[in-house]
């Protein structure tokens, strides 16, 4: 006799396993490099073919060769296999490859278990509102597969087909019911299983390979790419008034160093803390930000943050840097004071780095500035002159900007004159530095979509923006947005309103507002589920007067809830169903038997209706007539070619009240 797990899995079960794996890997596939996707799908397709067409198993050498090729493809496409996303890709590819040598139930179960694990890993990257539904679908398919494998295992030793064969519909239904029944216990585990306040281990930064959003450098095109990305960056709930759109500058990475093409922040300034910070009591705006995970360190705020969120610090140029990268939905409350004066005096070292430009670059721009300088303008007039230049000359705010070469600012200012906010910010900052005004680039987000239902502001990645800051003595660093000079609507109505052409095929205004409105669902989901943590768990019952729940209390509640469920609810749900609903006749008949039993007549299971009627009538002579009547109706309903209506039998039984035989 073969050990149960060593038996071959049937065709049906194998195809179900493949279906589960496909569902589990699909969200991963869309983000994988194309060659890796091919290496994943090939073995999968082969296995389906082998199952349907009966192809022979591949020789060992071919299988090992395929594995080697897949691993090499992985390595070259991802660059490394150390990252989180790369690791999930690796798991996906290995599971697909395992398929080609899986013929036993044991292997099928292995693949199935890891498919569920793979399904869980998707949630590291996406915790969107649709993911739980997708996850539930995957679980249902996995449950059908497990059922199949179980039937397969139980019956594979015998030639006969199982006496009961279920339809696909009933199998899906059964799995769905299992899932639904599990949800109460699953939810109580979710709510009451003690959480860890601090993680036992962190995610090494080197494994973060799915960074999104603004990066630590800015070269032409980097923000433009974000413009296509409609995923939410963060959501803000204000206490009190919401600032006007022109004030909604969400400050992120700040750049000082320019090499002629790329702007970078420098570690040196990142390590310096802010000399002074606005007073918390001065903060005009108080708000809570819910930041989507982006695997980066920046937290975003309006100018200038008066409070420092937990586990983070504020640098000298008012970037808020978190100690750990943001890999989970992060919520922080912060206050901002826009009237604060940032560095009324600037240290010489900082001043020089805010004026630094690569040697010999952009001669034409330098010439233009020299011309303005000769007109004897002061610093503020110079700023105005530059903005007027952008405003008066033929500049276009456009996504289609040609690639720029060595003298990128020159080419932009005099030749192409087309560009996106980053081009304007970059050109403007370079011009200011040429004029001897300390300046720097600030990137972040501008604007946001106000959701009236949820009373929060939604900022998408497509709201990414770049602007400049110039420094004047005593006035400190002041924000100047050259894009506003070219395209005022960019600031007034948001990044998408400023462009005339849609970004892609499905880019309609109504669709965008629908999506913005529908974001409330995601926001609530984040609020209620994704954000749930050790802290929210402990304060779950604070409204009932229980300040903090200790882990032991949580466990007690957990067991109480599960116990209550198992004792009362589960038996109720699992109670033995009455007679088959598909056979109403039998249901009615059983009711009749019940009445007889109450009167003291016990029917033998073997007796037919007529025989039963005779013995019942013998025992209960007073009801003999009605007993015979019911039995006759029943046997005619059951066996006659022209059965009487069911209602007749129902009525007869309704009126049937046998008297207990006392004699």
């Amino acid at each position: 006799m073969t050990a149960p797990g060593n038996m071959q899995s049937s065709q049906k079960a194998t195809l179900w396993v493949i279906a589960t794996l496909s569902f589990a890997m699909a969200p991963q596939l869309v983000r994988m490099p194309v060659p890796v996707v091919i290496m994943t799908l090939l073995p999968l397709m082969w296995r389906i073919g082998a199952e349907i067409r009966g192809w022979k198993p591949l020789p060992v050498l071919v299988r090992h060769g395929a594995t080697a090729v897949a691993l090499l493809t992985m390595y070259f496409s991802h660059g490394s296999i150390a990252g989180r996303r790369a690791a999930v890709s690796l798991l996906t590819v290995m599971l697909a490859l395992k398929l080609i040598e899986s013929y036993r139930i044991r292997d099928a179960r292995l693949i199935l278990s890891f498919s569920l694990f793979l399904c869980a890993t998707q949630f590291m990257f996406n915790q969107g509102i649709f993911m739980p539904f997708y996850g539930a679908l995957t679980v249902i398919i996995a449950l059908v597969t497990l059922t199949q494998l179980h039937r397969n295992e139980a019956f594979s030793a015998f030639d006969e087909t199982p006496p009961v064969s279920a339809s696909l519909f009933s199998e899906l239904g059964f799995s769905f019911r299992l899932l639904m029944l599990a949800i109460p216990v699953g939810l109580s585990l979710f709510l009451f299983f003690p959480r860890w306040a601090t993680p036992l281990w962190g995610i090494p930064e080197s494994t973060l390979d799915s960074k999104t959003g603004l990066s630590d450098s800015m070269s032409p095109g980097s923000i433009q790419n974000l413009f296509m990305d409609d995923s939410p960056a963060f959501r803000i709930t204000f206490e009190g008034d919401i600032p006007r759109p022109s004030e909604l500058y969400w400050r992120g990475p700040v750049f000082w160093d320019f090499n002629g093409k790329t702007w970078r922040g420098s570690m040196f300034r990142k390590t310096l803390g802010a000399d002074s910070q606005p007073d918390e009591s001065q903060a005009q705006w108080k708000y809570t930000v819910q930041l989507e995970p982006n695997e980066r360190h920046w937290l975003f705020s309006l100018d200038y943050p008066a409070t420092t969120p937990r586990d983070s610090r504020i640098t000298i140029d008012f970037q808020i840097l978190r100690r750990q990268p943001v890999t989970q939905l992060l919520q922080y409350s912060i206050g901002s004071d826009s009237t604060f004066v940032d560095s009324p005096e600037l240290a010489a070292k900082l001043k020089s780095s805010a004026l630094d430009l690569p040697d010999g670059s952009n001669p034409r721009a330098r010439e233009l500035i020299e011309g303005w300088k000769r007109e004897g303008m002061d610093d503020q007039a110079m700023v105005r002159r530059a903005l007027t230049h952008f405003n008066q000359e033929e500049f276009h705010y456009s996504l289609e900007s040609p690639l720029l070469g060595r003298h990128s600012v020159d080419e932009f200012l005099f030749d192409t004159r087309m560009g996106y906010c980053e081009h304007y910010a970059s050109a403007f900052t370079v011009m200011m530095r040429m004029a001897g005004i300390p300046s720097r680039i600030v990137t972040g987000y501008q604007g946001g979509w106000y959701n009236e239902v949820g009373d929060y502001l939604l900022v998408r990645q497509s709201d990414a923006h770049a602007w400049s800051e110039v420094w004047f003595p005593d006035l400190g660093w002041s924000r100047v947005d050259p894009t506003a000079a070219v395209s005022p609507s960019r600031i007034a109505s948001g990044s998408l309103g400023a462009l005339s052409a849609p970004r892609h095929l499905l880019d309609y205004t109504w669709l965008r507002s629908f999506r913005n409105g529908a974001d409330i669902v995601q926001q609530r989901w984040n609020d209620w589920v994704i954000k749930f943590s050790a802290d929210s768990q402990a304060r779950m019952f604070s409204s009932f007067g229980l300040e903090r729940l200790s882990p032991s209390m949580l466990v007690t509640i957990l067991f109480a809830v599960i116990g209550l469920f198992s004792l009362f609810l589960l038996p109720f749900i699992l109670r033995v169903k009455g007679p088959d609903r598909k056979d109403p006749l039998r249901a009615v008949w059983l009711k009749f038997l019940k009445r007889l039993k109450a009167a003291g007549f016990e029917a033998l299971p073997s007796s037919g209706p007529i025989e039963l009627a005779y013995s019942a009538a013998h025992q209960l002579p007073r009801d003999s007539q009605s007993i015979h009547h019911v039995a006759d109706l029943y046997s005619r309903s059951r066996y006659s070619a022209t059965p009487p209506p069911l209602q007749e039998l129902r009525d007869a039984i309704k009126e049937f009240h046998p008297m207990k035989n006392t004699g």
């Binding site: 006799m1 050990a3 797990g5 044991r106 179960r109 278990s113 569920l116 694990f117 399904c119 869980a120 890993t121 949630f123 590291m124 915790q127 993911m131 739980p132 996850g135 679980v139 449950l143 497990l146 059922t147 494998l149 179980h150 039937r151 295992e153 139980a154 019956f155 030793a157 015998f158 199982p162 006496p163 009961v164 059964f174 299992l178 899932l179 029944l181 599990a182 949800i183 216990v185 699953g186 939810l187 585990l189 979710f190 299983f193 860890w196 993680p199 281990w201 995610i203 989970q328 589920v529 994704i530 954000k531 943590s533 050790a534 699992l574 033995v576 169903k577 009455g578 007679p579 088959d580």
Partner: protein, 326 residues
């Protein structure tokens, strides 16, 4: 007894565990009195090997989710855990209430597998999925529909003639997902008669050569044997109408075929062979005589049967041989 070999396919710990359970059952409950209904105290539930590793994987997933406070991962792990836990109840429920009605085991010849049929009844209004019987040597599986009876067969290789006791067996199921196994150990009080193995090439049948030995094949044949009172089922052509008319009641003719060649199977006339060999030869002779429709008598030290033919006679003779003791 074969108790040690109850589960040969599983590893040492498992085997020891099964032995321990078997001893427990033997001590507490012994052989069941039929009909025997499986109740909660008879049923054990444990995760299967697959269930165990599945649980480990779920635990790892949950630990990852807890560490990074990834609530979606946690929900998935917890819901899967709840499903798994629930299937242990379902596995138990799938077994509880099943009634063991009895055992049946037609006699076999030594060297053949004894086939014990276990009759199970599902007295309830729900389907029982994939109920398995497992013994050390074989297993069987079936679904039992609502209020239906199912027969499952367990085989047991026989070595020598005589009674063979049915092994203890498990009635189990891994319904619905194969994560948990619910089982009950049954120590059956059933046995199967094992006839001696017939020798392949027996010596020729020892014929008496006396046609008047007395044994005749009754019922069939052309010679009139006698008359008896009519019984329902007698062919019309056999009714002795004239005699019946005289006695005012129906009489049937009984017929007989003369036995030209009855044979006498006699223990004492078999020479100096070994006991088992003699028994095997006698068995082969009985089978051959049956096949050739030659009446045979059997004479053994402790018993003797007159010459006859037919299933009952054959079985009676074989039983004597099976249970023969020196």
């Amino acid at each position: 007894m074969n108790t040690a070999a109850l589960i040969s396919q599983e590893n040492g710990i498992n085997q020891r565990f099964n032995l321990w359970i078997l001893e427990r059952v033997r001590r507490k409950r012994g052989s069941p009195e039929l009909p025997f209904t499986l109740e909660y105290r008879h049923i054990y539930v444990m995760p299967t090997m697959f269930g165990f590793w599945f649980g480990v994987l779920l635990a790892l997933t949950a630990i990852g989710g807890l560490n990074f406070n990834n609530n979606m991962v946690l929900i998935l792990a917890f819901v899967m855990a709840a499903i798994a836990q629930m299937t242990s109840v379902l596995a138990y429920r799938n077994l509880s209430g099943i009634t063991l009605l009895g055992f049946r085991a037609p006699p076999v010849f030594a060297g053949q597998a004894a086939r014990f049929t276990v009759l199970l009844k599902n007295p309830e209004e729900r389907l029982r999925f994939a109920i398995q019987l497992v013994s050390s040597e074989s297993s069987d599986c079936t679904d039992i529909k609502q209020q239906a009876t199912g027969g499952l067969e367990l085989e047991l290789m026989t070595g020598r003639r005589g009674w063979i006791e049915m092994e203890p067996f498990r009635i189990e199921n891994r319904y619905p997902l194969g994560l948990f196994r619910a089982w009950s150990v049954i120590i059956p009080n059933a046995r199967c008669l094992v006839y001696p193995a017939p020798v392949p090439n027996p010596p020729p049948l020892p014929k008496t050569g006396r046609g008047d030995f007395g044994a005749t094949r009754k019922g069939e044949g052309e010679h009139l044997h006698g008359l008896r009172e009519y019984q329902p089922g007698d062919p019309l052509g056999r009714i002795a109408w004239r005699t019946s008319a005289r006695h005012q009641t129906l009489y049937s003719r009984t017929m007989e075929a003369p036995c030209e060649d009855a044979c006498e199977l006699n223990w004492y006339l078999m020479g100096g062979r070994g006991t088992e060999e003699k028994l095997s030869i006698l068995t082969a002779w009985i089978l051959r005589a049956e096949r050739q429709q030659i009446p045979y008598s059997l004479e053994m030290p402790a018993a003797a049967l007159p010459a006859d033919l037919g299933e009952d006679h054959r079985n009676a003779c074989l039983e004597i041989l099976a249970l023969f003791e020196k």
